[in-house]
């Protein structure tokens, strides 16, 4: 599978289908990890738990960048492709 983000390819690996009672995490280097534990991801900063239910979690080579904007109040979170 491939993932494109902001116009760049950020993932290109072979992805397995997990059994219905497991999840699988695939990293940008193609490392495959099956797990029966819940996986926590963050949707707009909110933690969301994915139970072991046959979900594929694709980890792309995108790292979050935190900007500290000192002249104004607030912290801004962004993410960019590597």
């Amino acid at each position: 599978m491939k993932v494109y983000y902001l116009g760049q390819e950020v993932f290109n690996e072979i992805v397995p289908v997990p059994p219905p009672n497991e999840n699988v995490i695939v990293t940008p280097t193609g490392k495959v990890e099956y797990t029966t534990s819940p996986v926590t991801v963050y949707i707009a900063g909110q933690a969301v738990t994915i139970p072991p239910n046959g979900t594929i979690i694709i980890e792309t080579s995108v790292y979050p960048v935190t900007f500290n904007i000192t002249s104004k109040s607030g912290i801004y979170q962004w993410a960019t492709p590597t």
């Binding site: 993932f11 072979i14 219905p20 940008p28 963050y42 949707i43 980890e59």
Partner: protein, 347 residues
């Protein structure tokens, strides 16, 4: 006085009363007439269903194997017919009087076809009668002899042959009626995919400002695109349900593109082409265009309409990269088929 014991694939069972299904001993045999003795074995139907919503019977060649839980010997093999059914003869009842104690069940396996194994299996005559053999499957698909038939909706050999997707204990209650249907749900299901960055943040569509000062130009969103990039689809090795040589009814194709937050866009496109199709029909009915023009316009608009519908189905309605790619089980009205199941790898 006689007692009868049957040793059947390692299951040791007494003769039983036909009605009560409880052990029956001390038979008096009468010379010159046929004496009938019953054993606690029964014929059943197994229906193999997908785990999708709605569930569909898995026709398209799933092999059902029954193994003895005592000896491990294969007791039955048959291939699902167009209703996903397999008829299985002589399954032991789950009765406490069957020895060894607590083993009165069988192992039930569901797997994809392996032509080298399944084309030479000596199928029971009842399997032939119900079209539940490899040969019946291959000929239902219109596959000429000399070509291998693989499970429809998979890539065939070598990737997807002999994939075991279900292997569980299976017991038949003592109260089972002859030919009773036991539905078995196997993990042929929709693919759920969550795309994150390296820290577990789910990726989302991002606003892009195509000039230096955002207020001077309208922004647009770059979506996150997930591609199931399968350069060999439609699979030349997979089984295609066809009217030989060129008219395909079903093709196995795993190519999918999903885009975040694009579902509303593609749905709008769908309705645009829907109204164009309606306008074509109205124009033809009122005599404004010829039949030939109508057909050409209709086909053109219809192909854009189905493409928009396809992309709408794979895209998400929210900005976040949480996708569902459906398994498409062969059934009435499908052209492309694809079955996602465990142990299967996608490029």
């Amino acid at each position: 006085m006689f007692n009868f014991t049957l040793n059947y694939y390692g299951y040791i069972m007494p003769s039983v009363n036909y009605t009560t299904r409880q052990p029956e001993y001390n038979y008096m045999l009468t010379p010159g007439i046929i004496n009938v003795v019953y054993f606690p074995l029964i014929d059943i139907n197994i229906q193999v269903l997908s785990q999708t919503t709605p569930q569909y019977p898995l026709w398209g060649g799933f092999v059902v194997n029954i193994y003895s839980a005592v000896t491990g010997q294969k007791m039955w093999e048959a291939i699902t017919n167009s209703s996903g059914y397999v008829y299985v003869m002589n399954v032991p009842l789950n009765a406490s009087y069957i020895q060894p104690q607590g083993k009165a069940y069988v192992m039930l396996k569901v797997r994809t076809i392996s032509p080298a194994i399944d084309s030479v299996y000596p199928y029971a005559s009842v399997s032939q009668q119900y079209g539940q053999t490899y040969q019946a499957y291959a000929s239902a698909l219109g596959i000429p002899s000399g070509y291998y038939a693989y499970t429809l909706g998979t890539r065939g050999g070598p990737f997807d042959e002999d994939l075991v997707i279900y292997y569980e204990q299976f017991s038949v209650p003592v109260t089972t009626t002859c030919g009773q249907v036991f539905p078995i749900t196997v993990p042929v299901e929709n693919l759920h995919i969550v795309v994150t960055d390296l820290k577990g943040n789910v990726l989302s569509s991002q606003p892009v400002y195509p000039c230096a000062t955002p207020s001077y130009c309208p922004s647009f969103y770059y979506n996150v695109t997930l591609v199931l990039d399968d350069q060999y689809s439609p699979y030349y090795l997979s089984s295609q349900w066809l009217v030989f040589p060129t008219y395909w009814l079903n093709l196995t194709d795993f190519r999918v593109v999903g885009q975040t937050w694009m579902q509303p866009e593609y749905e709008a496109l769908e309705s645009t082409f829907q109204s164009l199709i309606a306008a074509d029909q109205a124009a033809y009915q009122s005599g404004m265009i010829s039949l030939q023009q109508f057909v050409e316009w209709y086909v053109g608009n219809y192909s854009y309409y189905t493409l928009a519908a396809l992309l709408a189905n794979y895209s998400t309605s929210s900005p976040f990269a949480i996708f569902t790619f459906p398994s498409i089980v062969p059934h009435e009205g499908t052209i492309f088929v694809r079955l996602f199941m465990p142990a299967r790898h996608s490029r």
